[in-house]
C-alpha cells in the first residue's frame, strides 16, 4: 500500500477534499493545480504510481500534458472528463490514459478506478488467472509473447499500450470463442462494465488500427459479435 498519487486539477478546493478522501483510504497524495506544475514535478524526477488528471484546465490542458509525457513516462493515468465530452474521452484513451471518469463523480467511483488501474499496473502473470496466455501464442501471423509483453507481425514489432496488449492477449488466448464485454472489461480494466462504457471498445479499435498495416481486414480478425462481445477469429476453427 501507500502508493503515491498525483492529483492534477485546477479546482483547489476539490483537490483539498479529494486529497483528504484518498489519504483516508491510505494513499499518499500530491496535488497540482495546473498541468505546468505537474510537468515540473515530473521534470524534478519525482515518481508517482498513478496520476488522476483533469482534462479541462486553463493553460496547458490535461490532454496536452498526457501527450508530452508519453511515451517517456509510463505512469498509469485516470482521466476526469466533462460529462458528454466524448471526443476528450476517446482522445485521452488513445493517448494512453488507462481509464476515465466523467466529472463530477462520486469519489467512491474514483477510488474504484484508481484501485483497478493500480492493480492492473502492478499485476503479475499469476494474478491474471488462467485466461491470460501462459506462453507465446502465434495465430494468423500475429505473435504475442506474454513474458516479454511484445507483439510482432511478420517480425515487425507492434507498439501497444498495456491495456491494448492485455485486450489482445485475452482475445488470442480464447481465440475462436466469443469473450463478453463484461468479462473483458473486468479482465482488462479490472472493473465492472458500466452504462455507456466505451473504454473497451476504444481499446479494441486501437488494436485493430495498429494491426491494420499488416492485417488486411482487422475487423474480420477481431470480430464484433453484436450483443455478445468480441472474438479473435481463427481460420481453422
Amino acid at each position: 500500500m501507500n502508493e503515491r498519487l498525483l492529483l492534477v486539477d485546477d479546482d483547489q478546493a476539490l483537490c483539498d477534499l479529494l486529497t483528504d478522501y484518498l489519504q483516508h483510504e491510505g494513499y499518499r497524495v500530491t496535488a497540482c493545480h495546473s498541468a505546468e506544475a505537474a510537468q515540473q514535478r515530473f521534470a524534478g524526477g519525482e515518481n508517482f504510481d498513478l496520476m488522476v488528471l483533469d482534462i479541462q484546465m486553463p493553460g496547458l490542458s490535461g490532454l496536452e500534458l498526457l501527450q508530452q509525457l508519453r511515451p517517456r513516462i509510463q505512469i498509469p493515468v485516470v482521466m476526469l472528463t466533462g460529462r458528454g465530452d466524448e471526443i476528450d474521452r476517446i482522445l485521452g484513451l488513445e493517448m494512453g490514459a488507462d481509464d476515465y471518469l466523467p466529472k463530477p463523480c462520486n469519489p467512491r467511483e474514483l477510488l474504484a478506478r484508481v484501485r483497478a488501474v493500480l492493480r492492473r499496473a502492478g499485476a503479475t502473470a499469476p494474478e491474471r488467472g488462467e485466461l491470460f496466455p501462459s506462453g507465446v501464442i502465434e495465430l494468423e501471423g500475429v505473435r504475442l509473447d506474454p513474458g516479454l509483453r511484445t507483439v510482432t507481425v511478420a517480425g515487425e514489432p507492434v507498439e501497444l499500450t498495456s491495456a491494448e496488449f492485455n485486450v489482445l492477449a485475452y482475445l488470442m488466448a480464447s481465440a475462436g470463442r466469443v469473450m463478453s464485454k463484461e468479462q473483458l472489461t473486468e479482465l482488462v480494466l479490472h472493473r465492472k462494465l458500466t452504462a455507456y462504457d466505451r473504454a473497451l471498445d476504444v481499446h479494441v479499435s486501437r488494436v485493430r488500427q495498429k494491426l491494420s498495416p499488416w492485417v488486411a481486414d482487422p475487423g474480420a480478425l477481431i470480430k464484433t459479435i453484436r450483443g455478445q462481445g468480441y472474438q479473435f477469429v481463427r481460420e481453422s476453427s
Binding site: 479529494l18 478522501y21 463523480c105
Partner: protein, 451 residues
C-alpha cells in the same frame, strides 16, 4: 430553452398558413375589388357619355324634323283653299301642335298637348297675326336609352374595359401583396425554422412607405427575440456549467462524511443520490445547449453499426427488452455528425424502453426512401400517449402522465434539437396498432443507396 414551446403543433399550421379557399387571400380580395369597381366605374362613364351623345343626336334630329313639319303645316294652314282634309295629309308623321302665345292651339291633332317635361317646345320663326308661334312635340320615352345600355354590355368596348381594369387590378394587387409575402416568409423562417438571424431583406426595409416601416419594425422585433433567446440559453448554460464545480466538491465532501459515518449511513446515501440526480440534470441541460454548437457534418458511417451499439446499450440496461432492427439497404451509409444522430436515437430508445413492458420488443427501422431522404422509425409497445399532449412531449422539462418514471423531461427535447440540427424533422404519433411511433426524416444524400 423555450424556443420550442408548442412549436410542433404550430408547425403543422405553418405549411398552409391561410385557412380557407383562395378567395380568402388578400391578393384576390384586392384584385377583385379593384377590378370590379374600376370596371363598373369605367363602364358607367362610358355608357353615360355614349348615352348623352346619342340623346343629343336624336333630339337634334327630332327638332329638325319638327321644324320642317311645322313649317309645312303653317304653309298649308295659310293657303286659302285649305280644308280639314288637307290637314290630315301631313299631320301623321309626328304628333305636333302649333300653339300661339296665349296657348291656343292653331294647328294640331285631337287630344291633349303634352305638358311640362313630357313635351318639347320649339319657338318658330314664323308668326301668325302678330303672335309668336311655338311647336310642341311629345318627348321621346326614356326606355329608348336603356336598350342602348344593354347593348353596350355585350359590346367590344365592355370586353376592353374588363381587360384593362383586370390588368390594372392585378398590378396593384401584386404591388401590395408581394412585399407582404416576402415579410411573411422572413417571419416564418424566424419562427418555424428557428433561424433567429432571419431579417427582412434590404430592399424591403429600405422602402419609404408603410411596408418599409413594417419591415424595419419586424427587424427590430427579430433582433430583440434573438437577443433575448440567446441570452436565456447562455444563462442556462453558464449557470449549469458553474454548478458543476460546487457539485463535484459536494460529492467529495459527501464521500468524506461517508468515510466518517460509515457506508450504510442513510443521510449520506441520500446526499449521494440527490447529487447524482443533480449531475444528470446539469449534464442534460448542457448537452441540450451544446447541440446548437455541434456541426451537422461528419464522416460517413454505417447505420447498422450505430444501431448495434444502441442495441448493446439497451441489452445492458434493459436485458428483458429487445431491439429489432430493420435497415434497408442493409449497408445503408450516412454522412453526418454521427454523435448527433446517436444522441437522438439513444434518447428515443431509452424513452421507448421505459414504456415497453418487460419481454416486449422495440422496432427500429431505417430506410433510404429516395435519393435524398432517409426515414427512421422507432416504435415501442407501450400504451401510447394521450393525443392532447403529443405535441408537448418534446418541450423541455415536460413530463407526460408519468411523473413516477425517472427523468427530467429533457430526453425528447434533446432528440428534437439534435434532429433539427441535422435539418431533419421529428414526428411523434400513436401507432394504429398501439404504442408510440417516432418518425425521423433526414434530408440526405444517401451513399449506400443503389439504383
Amino acid at each position: 430553452m423555450t424556443v420550442g414551446r408548442r412549436l410542433s403543433s404550430l408547425k403543422r399550421r405553418a405549411q398552409s398558413g391561410i385557412r380557407g379557399g383562395w378567395y380568402k387571400r388578400l391578393f384576390w380580395k384586392i384584385f377583385l375589388i379593384i377590378w370590379l369597381v374600376s370596371a363598373a366605374g369605367t363602364g358607367a362613364v362610358l355608357v353615360g357619355l355614349l348615352t348623352v351623345t346619342d340623346k343629343r343626336q336624336s333630339l337634334e334630329l327630332l327638332e329638325t324634323k319638327a321644324r320642317a313639319q311645322a313649317a309645312l303645316m303653317l304653309e298649308r294652314y295659310q293657303q286659302p283653299e285649305r280644308d280639314e282634309h288637307h290637314e290630315h295629309r301631313f299631320h301623321r308623321r309626328l304628333p305636333l301642335w302649333i300653339i300661339t302665345e296665349d296657348k291656343q292651339v292653331l294647328i294640331g291633332p285631337e287630344g291633349r298637348i303634352p305638358k311640362g317635361a313630357r313635351g318639347i317646345r320649339y319657338p318658330l320663326e314664323e308668326t301668325w297675326q302678330g303672335q309668336a308661334l311655338t311647336a310642341v312635340v311629345p318627348a321621346p320615352p326614356e326606355g329608348f336609352y336603356i336598350k342602348r345600355l344593354l347593348g353596350f354590355l355585350f359590346s367590344l368596348q365592355a370586353v376592353l374595359v374588363l381587360l384593362v381594369s383586370a390588368l390594372a387590378a392585378l398590378l396593384l394587387s401584386w404591388m401590395i401583396v408581394r412585399p407582404i409575402n416576402q415579410l411573411c416568409r422572413h417571419a416564418k423562417e424566424l419562427y418555424y425554422h428557428q433561424n433567429l438571424a432571419s431579417r427582412a431583406s434590404g430592399r424591403l426595409s429600405e422602402r419609404s412607405d408603410e411596408i418599409g416601416e413594417l419591415s424595419r419594425e419586424f427587424n427590430q422585433m427579430a433582433a430583440y427575440v434573438e437577443r433575448t433567446l440567446t441570452a436565456q440559453q447562455r444563462l442556462l448554460q453558464d449557470v449549469s456549467h458553474e454548478l458543476r464545480a460546487p457539485l463535484a466538491r459536494l460529492q467529495v465532501a459527501a464521500g468524506l462524511a461517508e468515510q466518517r459515518l460509515g457506508e450504510g449511513d442513510r443521510a449520506v446515501a441520500r446526499i449521494n443520490h440527490e447529487c447524482e440526480r443533480l449531475d444528470e440534470l446539469i449534464g442534460e441541460i448542457l448537452s441540450l445547449s451544446r447541440l446548437d454548437q455541434a456541426s451537422p457534418r461528419g464522416e460517413p458511417f454505417r447505420v447498422v453499426a450505430l444501431c448495434n451499439e444502441l442495441a448493446e446499450d439497451l441489452a445492458y440496461f434493459q436485458p428483458e427488452r429487445e431491439l429489432v432492427l430493420d435497415i434497408v439497404p442493409a449497408d445503408l451509409e450516412l454522412t453526418l455528425n454521427q454523435s448527433l444522430l446517436q444522441r437522438a436515437l439513444g434518447n428515443l430508445l431509452s424513452n421507448a424502453a421505459k414504456y415497453t413492458p418487460a419481454g416486449g420488443c422495440i422496432l427500429l427501422s431505417a430506410r433510404a426512401e429516395a435519393p435524398d431522404q432517409v426515414r427512421i422509425l422507432l416504435r415501442d409497445q407501450g400504451p401510447g400517449v394521450d393525443e392532447s399532449i403529443l405535441d408537448r412531449l418534446t418541450e423541455p422539462f415536460f413530463r407526460g402522465q408519468s411523473e413516477s418514471i425517472e427523468g427530467f423531461g429533457l430526453g425528447l427535447s434533446i432528440t428534437r434539437r439534435a434532429i433539427e440540427r441535422l435539418s431533419g424533422t421529428l414526428m411523434l404519433r400513436n401507432h394504429p396498432d398501439g404504442g408510440l411511433e417516432c418518425e425521423i426524416l433526414l434530408p440526405l444524400k444517401v451513399a449506400g443507396l443503389k439504383g
